[in-house]
Symmetry: C2
Subunit: 142 residues, 2 copies
C-alpha cells in the first residue's frame, strides 16, 4: 500500500479491473483507478489559479504513470489509439501541480498551469461556447 | 438552426450519431452533442462562484433536455440504467446557471450553484483526495 508509484507503478492495467471493495475505494488511501472496459478513466484539467475548466480527455495506466513521472499531462487518444503529451507539438503543455481522484476513482482531476491555450482551436479552454435559451451556441468571453 | 430546443428538443438521440461536419461542430453555433455508442456525453459540474470541480457524470439527450427544462442538473446513471436528478433524494440539487460545450461537442460543462455537498459521501466535491508522491491518497482541505 505504501508503494512508490512514481518509481514502480503498480496501477492495474487490466481493463475493467475491480479488485477493491467499493467502500475502501471511496474512503481509503490507496490509489486504485477504476478503468473502464477499454482501460481508461476520464481526466479533467482545471487551471489551478483561475479554477477554469480547460479540457477533458482520457488516461490509461501508462498516461497516469507518465504524467506522474514527468509532471506534464499525458493522455490516451481514443481516436488515434496512442499515448500523447498535451502540447507535444504546439508547446502548449499542461504542468501538473496536483492530481486528485473522485469518490469511486473513475475520474481524475489534474490541477494544472497551462503554458498556452488549452484547446487545439487556440481558445484558452475547450469550453468556449455556451448554450443559449433559443438552443444555439454563443462564444463566451471569459 | 434556430429551433427552440427548450420547447422542442431536436437533439439527436441516435447513439454515435455524427451527422455534422467536424469543422462546423467546432466552430458553428449549432448545438449537436456527439453522443458515444451508448448515447452519452460526459458532463462536468463546476461551482460557478468558486470554480471548483464538483462532480463528473454522464448525460443522454433526455438528461440534457430535462436539465434545460427544469434548470436542475439531470444525468443518466450507467449503473442503474435510469435518468436521475442530482439531489432528488438528498435535496442537494445543482441549479444550472449555464451550459457550455467543448470543441468537439462530446463533453458538457454545467456551471452550477450547489444546494449542498455535491458528493454522495457528503464531501463538498467528489474530488476530495489528492495523490501524494508516495502513491497514496490524502484528503484535501479545500
Amino acid at each position: 500500500m505504501a508503494n512508490n508509484l512514481s518509481r514502480n507503478p503498480v496501477i492495474s492495467t487490466q481493463p475493467g479491473a475491480s479488485h477493491a471493495d467499493p467502500a475502501d475505494r471511496e474512503q481509503g488511501s490507496l490509489f486504485q483507478p477504476r478503468f473502464d472496459s477499454t482501460g481508461l478513466v476520464t481526466a479533467v484539467a482545471i487551471d489551478r489559479s483561475t479554477g477554469r475548466l480547460l479540457m477533458l480527455a482520457h488516461m490509461n495506466a501508462e498516461a497516469i504513470a507518465r504524467t506522474r513521472e514527468t509532471g506534464f499531462a499525458h493522455f490516451w487518444s481514443r481516436s488515434r489509439g496512442c499515448l500523447w503529451m498535451k502540447g507535444e507539438t504546439s508547446g502548449h503543455v499542461l504542468r501538473v501541480a496536483e492530481i486528485r481522484v473522485d469518490c469511486d476513482q473513475d475520474a481524475i482531476e489534474l490541477r494544472v498551469d497551462a503554458a498556452g491555450p488549452a484547446c487545439h482551436t487556440l481558445a484558452p479552454s475547450c469550453f468556449y461556447r455556451r448554450l443559449t435559451a433559443d438552443g444555439t451556441l454563443e462564444w463566451v468571453a471569459d
